[in-house]
Symmetry: D3
Subunit: 241 residues, 6 copies
């Protein structure tokens, strides 16, 4: 049995998605992967970064942060060190690329959707929960633009979700909680579409290297998990295809 | 009738306090004053700032921030500007002073309680909600220290809570929501104990000056409001005196 | 008798205001409250912050800092820590609000008056000396604008001055010097107009809480002190009403 | 034929490694992947980061930067923006993890090897050139420690090298130059050992998603390329196994 | 006749030095070179920078800044840009080197004298006024250490003062005011001892280059000016040799 | 004999200049003064700093930095301290002024030439090598502008080069290597034109003061050295006058 009581290595934790969690942003979600809880918001701004000015194309920009009390040890705020945490920098680049892959930026028009992922409780998998949750926030923000006739054509291309897999005690596990993650010999974060294609894949051998065979097995396990997660996403938003 | 439907000028919004909101901090609260929502946490660290080393005395240090999507317009993160927002700087100093007044720092022993107030939704009164909520987080953190025998004697001196009052259209109002606050001619934030004594008082004439008579009336209105809020605090923690 | 030789609890220290202290700014003052000495300057810039562009309205922006040698212990410069001192942040917000209350910003026209308060020697009450002195600097800068026909109508609404009061050894004192301030159980900074109305009031219980009765007594003592200070201001500028 | 004259999709650019490029560091290399040129240095410091103090274990820490003139458009220095470029933050974390996987940190002893990768000319693949080159710098720094008897047992576990692969115009390509990289629909950076096992893998769909079949083909192409690169590394250092 | 009324090219402006200008620092001076006014302070700290710990040697560290209103156009504070002004960085290095040359650092003992030069009004020559004035502040701080028996032997080696010279309209001028300085084709700042030897010399051709002959003539003119300034310094402190 | 084998006190180290060292910048040089190696680049940007907008005049802006491994002890990157090294600030101001003296900025037209000097190995004299090398980079960038008809008239006024001289063990030395520099009692950096006139001169007594006679002798020695260096510069670029 797994540390948090799950019975199978390829079993997800309970995933909950609360839509319209906040009243101001066009899209906002509280997502939970077990005890990992992230507030994901999507706010639309009617302008784009300088490099896109006049291009007719939009942008999706993502930021990721943790509340100081999200972990067992208090994490000093970035502003106190005057430095963006470099792990956060890496993660928010990943979230941004993943979500941009979900949208036709031309069809979005010259506007920016700001994605903010604030982890209020961390128990492993915060980046994949952030991607999964902020996809819904983005989906809802785009829905608002469509409902308010700011957009005539839906720019969403496909559903995008993410999950972590890893090797712990030489066993392959899906959706690692913090206890498993901290002991992992290798871990992989995978972002896929509802067509089963890859958007992003990041694998790291932490305690040991990974054979090509293990790499394939991890990718398959992740694909299966993402399939389930996208089913939950679709159910949440009442998507019927 | 008031903007958000309240019927009396001296009526509070609905106040909700959810204790044990997060699993890691020794004390954590989600507090709501109407649509204003703040996560308040209290984490204990077994060391003190340099100026207290060896003094036998403890410290309470507070930080305050807003999620980017807490307001109608997205607020850039401090780290992107490399500057602590000066309004946040002012507010967190106020929260820190208010909570230190609630504790016998000598009796707390040489440790720091870190208070973090993160506003997830702002609709006026975020600083007074932060003080009121983080008092409970502090109370619970101290309770944990007592339960775990790190403290033998309760260092809490009294209950502390806060409320805002203001003058809008020349009328005195209690507990201003954002719509009222943004049109206020003067506003006052008051922090008091359950003995009805003042801890902090900050009054600002924004559109006009305030006569001594109005000042007194505002203080009385605030005192009445804080009385009700402390009753809610005591109920929440099951305090029986 | 008080620490610095004053005989009465409600006695001010000697207040000196030297006008036209520097040759470049439109208004400049060296103000002394006893041994507290602050250079206050007002410089006019013919533009406004972005949020006022095109509004026809002006702005008054204040900054406050201390020379490293202004205190008994050398104070590291903010730039060495890359952080604005948070006490300075709080104080300069107070100065800015206080002076904006003295001017009709519409009548000032679309320009900014930059107020700089640099404490060269600190002996308690630096923020109230700064407000009192920079009011004169502002008054003189506006006078220059009038004399040079950049303004046709005087935008000054009233005189503004400030003083500190506090409770030391359970006695109420006016205009605390550093020695008194450092032992104060409570202190209050009050900003008022020549009509005896409040612009700002900030009270803090440092060692103990403050009863409503004490609060009123402190406010009265402050009002009396500010009355005298505004008389000195008016004398200094030769105001005859 | 490819943009830079290569004839096959799975052909590497010319790779040159100049050892002992600088006189001060224990290991230093100028590495070229075609026109991409990176100075990689390894300097030993006899102390470790705080989290390892007293652990008996060593550390490898990596930094990555570009000269302003390394690209066609001048790149502003990080210090002028007061922010570490977030792409650099991501890359230097990748380099650090990759090199730590090559060393037995326990056997390295309580010391840090500082790796610095400074790109003097960028033509695609700067991060994989950095990993490949800094492995040699690290290898030589460890060699120096062994030669000077600071280490008795060689802590190097295996050779580590890296290469990029990608999809351009729906064709799979090895070792992309900048012109190819800027038009890539997907790209992957792979870090492997001389045993053909994975250390790191980062794949990104930029213009489109990637099928599992393509993912496998890219991984195979990378594995073949890395095999050749490690042969060059071994030749360079005269490794004979 | 010169812009500010001086009759000779080699005439100094009026130089005033007010000792004991502030009450806290061990040495403090208000120095004026004509309309240029600088507050120079010297504060002793009983510790040294890390590189001198345990060496038995002391240090003199200097900082230089301008009040925002010291010039005709308001100068933004460094902290608002989060960058030390690079001109200030250059100047404070010059001041530090100049004053360290005046003291036997071994004889000073393991302590730091912090020199702060804050320009309150700038009319050319602020750096040379700063050096000249802070020499007196340093002299007085050392005098305090001697008087209080913290030092038994006087560590001062010689007097140090500074002056500027320059070429304006192809004429050589001593002690340039701002109006002259802003039109100078070349300028030179010279720091010398009372023995007529050089401590620092910085010459810059701004509009044109400088011939060796002019260079010598400028150096001579500076030497003469510094002679007079050191006479004033000695008179000020009542030095009798 | 000198530390690095040179036989005469007025002998330069071997100076090598490799032109067109990098492929992107309009001018780029690897310059060596013995073991001191600096990459100097010149990139043209078709805009000017705000203070020159619309003036028709161009600008030359210089930056100077060291690779972390350029010295025997690793130098932390500026971005890690969030502060531009103040020695670098001083040096890059010197480089900028020196190169601007070589160009008719009016004739350059409203564009900026960005000079970047990155020291890859430091063995004394990095600032003078930077000036000497970046003059060639600037010369080549201007040559490119002329060749591409962006300029019709050559804006270069004269050749500019630099050298260091100093006093070590009371002997005057030309072109100090690090070992000599670190023991110097005084050092001087001189920048001159091919007409033998001074552009910049910075002299510092580090261990002792400098007599006027020594000052002259140092200047003469520098002038002779710069003569030789400019001969090498002219040879390098094939200048025939």
């Amino acid at each position: 049995m797994r540390y948090d009581g799950r019975e199978a290595n390829d079993e997800l934790r309970q995933i909950k998605i609360i839509r319209d969690y906040l009243k101001y942003p066009q899209g906002s979600v509280l997502i939970e992967f077990g005890d990992t809880k992230v507030i994901c918001t999507a706010m639309v701004e009617e302008k784009v970064p300088p490099f896109l000015k006049g291009s007719g194309q939009g942008w999706v920009s993502a930021q990721y942060a943790m509340l100081p009390a999200a972990n067992a040890t208090r994490k000093q705020r970035d502003i106190d060190k005057l430095k963006l945490d470099s792990r956060s920098a890496e993660i928010q680049r990943l979230i941004g690329r993943s979500l941009r892959a979900a949208v036709d930026l031309k069809a979005l028009g010259e506007r920016t959707v700001w994605i903010d992922c604030d982890v209020i409780q961390a128990d492993g998998g915060t980046r994949v929960a952030s991607i999964t949750g902020s996809f819904i926030a983005l989906y809802d923000a785009v829905g608002t633009l469509l409902a308010e006739k700011h957009l005539r054509k839906d720019p969403m291309i496909h559903f995008v979700a993410a999950v972590s897999v890893g090797i712990v005690d030489d066993e392959l596990l899906l959706d690692l909680c913090y206890h498993e993650d901290s002991r992992a010999q290798a871990d992989m974060n995978v972002v896929m579409t509802d067509a089963g294609e890859f958007v992003e894949l990041q694998a790291t051998g932490e305690g040991r290297t990974v054979t090509p065979g293990e790499m394939s097995a991890l990718m398959e396990m992740a694909a299966k998990g993402i399939g389930e997660i996208i089913r939950i996403q679709k159910e949440t938003v009442g998507y019927k295809k």
